[in-house]
Amino acid sequence: MMIDHGLTPVAGVTPGKGGTLVSGVPVFDSVDAAVASEAVNASLVMVPAVGLRDAVLEAIESGISPIVLMVDGVPLGLSEELLRAARMHGVTIIGPNSPGLITPGKCLLGALHPAKFTAGDIAVISRSGGMMSTIAYTLASAGLGTSTCLGIGGDSVIGLDMPAAALLAEQDPDSRAIVIFGEIGTTQEERLGALVRTGAITKPVIVYIAGTAAPAGIRYSHAGAKTDGESGTALWKKKRLAEDGVIVVDRYVDIPAALASASPKGA
């Protein structure tokens, strides 16, 4: 899919397959060999769970950043270990359970169909892979394109989280506004709100939070989507975000209209 859309990776790594080619892409035995030979500046890890720890630690120790982890169902202790190692090496992890990221026409790291994304100036950050594509479609249907769409992953223990991703979008000259797909559980939306309230983020932020009707105390598909009591519920998050100056929509299909009326803080 990456090659079909002109977003060809520079190298692949499969121990024991070094020296071969896959669709013209050279395959190396180790990450170090790939880094030494090609202009590598990011890594996408797509290995079975049994080889995940080994593959990610190898990429971390090679100093590649960012590393995207698409793997779902990563045990808590392993996520903690990998993120701890990444922090020690100054490496950014995206995921686990991330669909990847796409800058339409420029970059693709993950399982996102480029044809579904239109280039533009709206940054999208999502805790759900499928809903990121759906929101990009909704924006495109309204004549709006996306600068970068980033799936941060649905787990509760992740690398680059929503506030950190929003700060990147704030600094991105190609992004004029930030659209968020949030869910119940974790404190990510609340910490994002604090960044808007304190002025660390000045671009318009539009948030849709799924799970208003989801009963509390249940873990749904995403490991991070669970609430216990009032804190972390969709209603709680919406209230806090609105108080912080974030534009909150009740339906994601209302995002284009919200963008049309949004203006940067202080403008």
Partner: protein
């Protein structure tokens, strides 16, 4: 996450070297009376429900005699504590300590890390953010770091060794059992060491295979459909199948009760919101995403459409990468298996959506089912409204039973379930494409 009951957490803690009061798990007043005689009064009789403050809800009571304990059990068993039905009680010897405090290990965000907390005050309503010791566990817990934090918090010298021992054990237990949270509140300090009087744990269900005893997580799916989904998923790792029963079938049929089946974890949440917005009540949550096999989707579809208390069904996808013709194949196989022909809205968006929509339209024409088939141009709220309208139309055109559509059972089998009940939910096996899958029935 899997939350454990108090008696389970205490069994784990005892195995981790904690001093736990003598206790018995009971299910009848006679068992409670006998336990009180054996342990000696006074005892505490504690409802085993996954509720926050059980004491405030009347679920924890001190009993001064066996008769008192039996009467308390009679009152508690079958009653509701914080909205949850009590079906078991923990009878525990009363313990006296020097003070009542708090200890926990919890996973925190920004950055993700475990934090060890301790306070010499605790009990119901205690705010963990006020704990006097708050130690980030950046690596394996080290006794000297715990001691340093305790000393800095003004811990008396004579308590230092006992507290350090307990807190190190707690941190090690949280790691070994892959806990998001392991909380002891309150704790008391005795001459022999720290004794937890109450305990809670949330374990990571992705780590089930890694913890010392995975059976502690088995209680999570009490509902037979949830259990069937989990068992199937355990044998077929391609894609995911997640099923949650939101309204038990025992609550009976409802005109506004509808089934929900989606592709995508986020999409599934959106659909719950959309159904709620038009006054429909989803009886379940079901997500089959990540390119599952047709057999897996079919199993999910039998669980969803086989519910006896639904009046309609909404199936919806996000803009999915997975080949939706495979999804449609499984969906229709599942519906045929349980004979579903009720009011249905199907919303396919993404890869092979046209093909998938055609397959459903053809099936609907063949069986004469009232089905609306739409695509991404119809958002989830509009799709939910279509279902509400369809149900209204059906109600307007029929005056009799809401079950006027047929739901055959010809293909279902029966076998003994885990809880000894006959199960009649049918899973769909595709042994050719699922070599490692477990076979047999998984359902009620």
């Amino acid at each position: 996450m899997a939350r454990l009951l108090e008696h389970q957490v205490k069994d784990i803690l005892q195995g981790e070297g904690f001093i736990i009061p003598a206790r018995r798990l009971c299910h009848t007043p006679d068992e409670v009376r006998a336990a009180c005689v054996e342990l000696g009064a006074p005892v505490y009789v504690k409802a085993q429900v996954l509720a926050g403050d059980r004491a405030a809800g009347g679920g924890v009571r001190r009993c001064e005699s066996p008769d008192d304990a039996a009467a308390t059990a009679q009152a508690l068993l079958g009653s509701q504590v914080q909205g949850l039905t009590v079906d078991s009680l923990l009878v525990e010897s009363a313990t006296v300590g020097q003070w009542e405090g708090y200890a926990s290990v919890a996973l925190e965000e920004n950055p993700p890390r475990r934090v060890l907390r301790f306070s010499r005050t605790g009990g119901a309503g205690f705010d963990p953010s006020q704990a006097t010791v708050q130690l980030d566990l950046v690596d394996a817990v080290e006794a000297h770091r715990v001691r340093r934090a305790l000393v800095a918090a003004g811990t008396p010298s004579e308590e230092l060794v006992r507290l350090t021992d307990a807190l190190v054990r707690l941190a090690q237990a949280a790691e070994r059992w892959c806990a998001y949270t392991l909380e002891l509140n309150p704790i008391v300090l005795t001459d022999d060491g720290v004794v937890p009087l109450d305990a809670k744990a949330d374990l990571d269900d992705y780590s089930k295979a890694l913890i010392p005893d995975p059976s502690y997580m088995d209680h999570e799916e009490k509902d037979p459909r949830e259990l069937a989904a989990r068992v199937y998923q355990a044998g077929d790792h391609r894609g995911s199948l997640r099923y949650v029963q939101l309204i038990p079938e025992s609550e009976g049929f409802g005109a506004s009760r509808v089934a929900s089946h989606s592709v995508g974890g986020g999409e599934s949440m959106v659909v719950l919101d959309a159904l709620d917005s038009v006054g429909l009540h989803p009886t379940n949550y079901c997500d089959t995403s990540g390119s599952p096999s047709a057999a897996k989707v079919a199993t999910a579809a039998t669980l969803v459409a086989g519910q006896s208390h639904i009046s309609g069904l909404l199936f919806s996808t996000c803009i999915a990468n997975q080949p939706l013709s495979v999804t449609a194949e499984g969906l229709l196989e599942g519906w045929r298996t349980v004979g579903w022909t009720g009011p249905t809205v199907v919303r396919f968006a993404g890869n092979q959506a046209d093909q998938a929509r055609d397959m459903v339209r053809q099936w609907a024409a063949e069986v004469g089912a009232p089905v609306r088939v739409v695509g991404e141009e119809t958002d989830e709220w509009a799709a939910a409204q279509l279902l509400a309208d369809l149900l209204d139309e059906r109600r307007g055109s029929t005056s009799g039973s809401p079950h006027e559509f047929s739901r055959g059972r010809a293909n279902s089998r029966s076998c003994a379930g885990r809880h000894g009940r006959p199960w009649s939910i049918r899973c769909v096996d595709d042994d050719r494409s699922r070599p490692n899958a477990r076979r047999g029935c998984h359902a009620r």
